[in-house]
Symmetry: C2
Subunit: 298 residues, 2 copies
């Protein structure tokens, strides 16, 4: 059964592999690394890429923090232990081209001093322009990883992502979804090692998922109206992350490292009042697809 040291090492190594592959995909820029320590215990390796050939701004962050369980952490939970340990890898990539989706991934592990533990994770795609074939391929790749562990996972985790990546005040999902899971622990057909392996497999397939999306969009012609639309969609991404994302909110109020948490925000975003899309436009089609319970695989 993997212990926290092994999991931390596995996540650090995952961060390394993903960064190397993303630098290849970008073809120009390298990640810059900031190592930081947390006064209360632990620290992280924040890696940021900016002004690349493909990636306008992105982060691949590893962190490993531990310390006393605070009252804030106990809200709405059954946590009674005194000490916690949390480690994870978080990624958000914003591309230069409006034809390349925003992509996000997170895998995380949480352990308490009373022996309880769980894993969480998620990958979701936010195309500025929804293209059915690309959304289908994204979900197919995720299903293929999930199916190795449990045939119910993809369907369960896809529903969970639909609920999680939703912006209530806009009545829109933030993109075409993906998978999301939390509080996953060993069960009748699942060991702790299996769950770690699931997280690492998701991390392993991540560069491939992204590379496919990049390959579909990178040579498409970019017009000014595509950029305007991308910046508007990025505005929605900001709204989700600052208003709705539990991880971001928890990180900010619990005294996490602000610049690492907010690496998820886009380099540029726009807001205009009551933007209206043209009838039968790609923009209008995109909005029509930003809803829960779409069967992308059909």
């Amino acid at each position: 059964m993997p212990d926290s040291k092994e999991i931390i090492a596995a996540f650090m190594s995952l961060q390394d592999r993903i960064c190397t592959r993303l630098e290849d995909i970008d073809g120009k820029q390298k990640f810059l690394e900031d190592n930081w320590d947390r006064t209360e215990g632990g620290g992280g390796r924040t890696r940021i890429i900016e002004n690349g050939l493909i990636i306008e701004k992105g982060g691949v962050n590893f962190s490993h923090v531990h310390g006393e369980v605070t009252d804030l952490m106990k809200i709405n939970t059954e946590i009674t232990a005194d000490e916690f340990l949390a480690t994870g890898v978080s990624i958000v990539l914003h591309a230069n081209s409006p034809h390349i989706p925003i992509i996000h991934m997170n895998v995380r592990y949480f352990e308490l001093s009373d022996g309880k533990y769980w894993f969480g994770g998620g990958i979701d795609l936010t195309p500025h322009y929804v293209v059915m074939q690309q959304a289908k391929e994204f979900h197919r790749q995720l299903k293929s990883v999930c199916d190795k562990y449990d045939e119910a996972f993809y369907s369960d985790f896809k529903k969970w992502a639909d609920e999680y990546f939703f912006i209530p005040h806009r009545g829109e999902t933030r993109g075409v979804g993906g998978i999301f899971f939390d509080h996953l622990k060993e069960g009748k057909n699942l060991t702790k090692a299996n769950i770690l392996s699931l997280c690492l497999d998701l991390g392993g397939v991540f560069p491939e998922l992204y590379e496919y999306q990049v390959s579909c969009g990178k040579d498409l012609i970019i017009e000014k109206e595509h950029i305007d639309w991308m910046l508007n969609r990025r505005g929605r991404y900001v709204e989700f992350n600052l208003v709705n994302d539990r991880g971001t909110k928890f990180g900010l109020v619990s005294g996490g490292r602000t610049e690492s948490i907010l690496m998820s925000l886009p380099p540029r975003a726009n807001w205009s009042y009551q933007r209206k899309e043209k009838q039968d436009s790609k923009e209008q089609f995109t909005i029509s697809m930003l809803r829960k319970n779409v069967d992308w695989l059909s």
Copy 2:
């Protein structure tokens, strides 16, 4: 004693006067108006100005809503009544020039079916570049209005603004502050009519306050680095409004009209990782002044 009908009429008329004066100050664009109804009772007049000579994007909103008190409204309050009425005017203006500050104003009135009522309000200034003389003049004008009602008001409300307009995860105030008050009701030297009059006086002086700030900044030369800095500062404004502003958060979760609430967001904003300012630059000076308890009048 002014009743809710009179207050609503006074706030609508205030909105009219402010819009007319702001159109004069802008010199090019006019406000566009959206009238909206709220299913549960009431509605509003949202007025937006975009792409003006001075104002890049701004809103001057009036709303008047009423209905059942929800559980959400009762959290952390002593409200036991069944019905409420709320009305107010809210303003945020983002200028084209980095040398013209972002300005915000809000006056509001809340009444319960058990007869309880209170007023709230605030005005604050967010210069992209802090200029001491301009901050001083802003606070002097606010003090001059407050002093007509109670000599303690400016000092009390200025402290309140320092606390309210603060971004904990950045350790910065959102600008040079101003005044903020809430739950203000009649007292020994103050009638309900006085408080309404204070709100209307603040609204009345608002265009003057802004005109002075515009006059100081509008002819200054704009360089690319000023724009970059403005967009970075606007990013902070987005963070405050979406993460910290109680009014925005309450509006979004309680099913308010999203496009009216989020008119406060800037037309464009930027985020970059770990932006560093040059030693002894105006940018660095500005950040050094974004703190509580600065005595701007001295």
